[in-house]
Symmetry: C2
């Protein structure tokens, strides 16, 4: 049996999914539980039904579309990813794993394959932290990494709690029912664009992920003293924004000081209050993201950032406090899945290399409930989270083909 | 004749004016041409009519409330200030000069004084740059420092042009009619809180302003490269926010390097795009405010900031461009008015000292059409542009009393 992925069908569906956006093309903005997100989900569900998959959704909107196997009680095999997109993002992050996963299942069925284990396509809710400030919301909940109290605790910028927002979106089931049974899945494999430059630079078809970096994010709040920009003498100032600027540069220095390319630190959000041209800033909030595949090295960066906060606070006479949003451990992929991916590549004549994922993914949390692996495909310039994000139809087809072969093997 | 200011009446009117705010007390937010601004203007006009002043408004909303003198054709004397307030500001900036000016006129009338020259109370539109990005909008226009093309050129954050916004607010006259005749006024005197700490620290009642610092403001736009916060290697980054953070710290260094307390530099606005925790910033905009009473010294600071922009742009591989919003020359106050203020203080037994204004005021532009002076009163801690801004009733009464005496002298 050779599963044949249909490149035209997959490209057409990716094109259609990209039209569900709150920004004009090529930019994509698709925030969880907005009308746009719900219309995109409806489109995906229609495709799943066309493919004769049986769909269920849990209380946070995670979607499970099942192709039932000949042994429906055996632990299933799953693939999937997310379709939400940060503001001003591109069209391939997450979506390649969802529509590529669907295409892999259809290709298996069309090749006459009969799976012993059921194969599930999964859509994870809110992999992006845009709305509720924490990434991988759906996979955290289904893996028990976050408990149901998150429903009231997490709040979006519009003041609506997660519970309010999911109810508005029609997801009324209790969050207590979201966690998966420990024997629900025997394997999970996620197809994703690399979001980095290594595969393209090396001219390699497929990246075989061996580990996923440990992400952490924190909110740093600086409180100083405001005043009139003309009147407060420079030596009397306790400018919250300048302190925050030093801390942001300190995040960069701390990440660079690790000595490893696998360490990254980013300040992606800076909010200045009161935000008037003629007013000394009294408060500034930063969102800081630090990641490493090595937990000790990442935590050393966090400690250097804390030290920079303390030093700046003391020297400038401002108050600095940090709130941890998440600090997750890294994960190692399952050796048997790594090998299955490599063998599938070899069988199809695709070049491959092992690599780590510095971006984090729902796989990080799925690895807590099932043996997990990831298949990376190259993306142009390594660019992601921006409108010019691009993966070629050929690269996507290769990824979906390898995924089909791996699903076949794992479900047998 | 001794003019007696009524402290209770003035305090009550300041209290009432503070209630016209888009934020709960003690904070005041009153942006030009909002409903709140228009309601505050209506209140002021009702007070002017109660005081039998004849009110006219020009096309940009500058208000002239006249007490006609016995020689109505002689160039008039004027006082006044502004009532707009930046976000999260206090209740004394500008308002003390408007309501204190009204009280001074009422006190003169109640003391039986008959002015030869007419005395005008002026309300200047949008001294604060919040909405249209440029300060002293009304006084720039009436002094011919800005021409009528500003009506279409200036646009607020809501996308409405100045012409749209003033039409919405009911100010339909042509901007071409706003400039004053060169012989309209023989003197202008503005009462204002110091917005700095010097009078309070020295325990002095009245500040006699000799010069007003030269303000300049610019918008600095940094364009770098965005990308995924997990995936883009630190060494491959061109982070627009980190470049902007360096430039902001460069503004501070440049202002401090002048060696004079009269030099100040502030970055009050920083907008990061796309502004997501897991996205490398691709664009950042700063609003920079630099002031000095010495024009050459201020321009040297501007040059140091430009050099910092060039250095950062080159080292980080980002594009940096600066747009000048305004760069005004400083002004010297009129010696005869300075002396009149000092003599009024001496006659009332108030201590006084000469000082410069590092904050800028409508007086900076009024000085282009009439000999100009300013009376400062202490404010607590030198604080301004924040909710805890405070001037005591005693200080305000002293200021309004000196203003009354100076108006009497100049209008005789």
């Amino acid at each position: 049996m050779t599963a044949r992925v249909d490149p035209q069908r997959l490209a057409r569906e990716l094109d259609t999914l990209a039209t569900f956006s709150d920004e004009p093309a090529p930019a994509v903005t698709r925030i969880v539980f907005t009308d746009t997100d719900l219309r995109a989900r409806a489109y995906l569900k229609s495709l799943c039904r066309d493919a004769a998959l049986s769909v269920r959704e849990d209380g946070v909107g995670n979607l499970y579309a099942r192709w039932t196997g000949t042994d429906p009680h055996a632990p299933a095999v799953a693939t999937g990813s997310h379709i939400d997109a940060i503001p001003h993002a591109g069209r391939f992050d997450g979506t390649v794993g969802v529509l590529g996963g669907l295409e892999a299942i259809r290709a298996l069925r069309e090749a006459g394959f009969r799976a012993r284990r059921s194969i599930d396509l999964m859509l994870f809710t809110s992999e992006e932290p845009t709305r509720f400030g924490i990434g991988c919301l759906g996979s955290r909940l289904l893996s028990g990494s976050l408990d149901e109290s998150a429903g009231e605790r997490l709040t979006g910028g519009d003041g609506r709690s997660l519970n309010d927002a999911r109810a508005d979106a029609g997801f009324g089931d209790s969050l207590a029912l979201v966690p998966l049974a420990s024997d629900a899945y025997c394997a999970f494999v996620e197809l994703h664009i690399e979001q980095g430059p290594l595969l393209e630079r090396a001219g390699v078809d497929i990246g075989v992920v061996t580990a996923i970096a440990a992400p952490s994010s924190q909110r740093i709040i600086v409180e100083g003293e405001g005043g009139h920009a003309g009147a407060v003498l420079m030596r009397d100032r306790h400018d919250a924004f300048l302190a925050a600027a030093e801390i942001a540069l300190g995040v960069e220095s701390a990440a660079r000081a690790s000595g490893s390319d696998d360490t990254v630190g980013t300040v992606g959000v800076c909010e200045v209050f009161p935000g008037a041209v003629n007013s000394v800033p009294s408060r500034t909030t930063l969102a800081v993201d630090i990641r490493d595949v090595d937990l000790a090295r990442r935590d050393a960066v966090l400690e250097r950032v804390s030290a920079a906060c303390r030093e700046t606070a003391s020297r400038r006479g401002v108050n600095v406090r940090a709130e941890t949003i998440n600090a997750d451990p890294p994960t190692r992929c399952e050796p048997a899945i790594i090998e299955a991916i490599e063998q599938a590549c070899d069988a199809r004549g695709f070049t491959h290399q092992r690599m780590i994922s510095r971006a984090y993914h729902d796989s990080l949390f799925m690895s807590r409930v099932a043996p997990t692996g990831m298949i990376f495909i190259p993306c142009r310039g390594g660019l992601s989270h921006r409108p010019d994000e691009y993966a070629s139809p050929e690269a996507i087809t290769r990824g979906a083909s390898v995924l089909a072969d791996v699903l076949a093997r794992l479900s047998t």
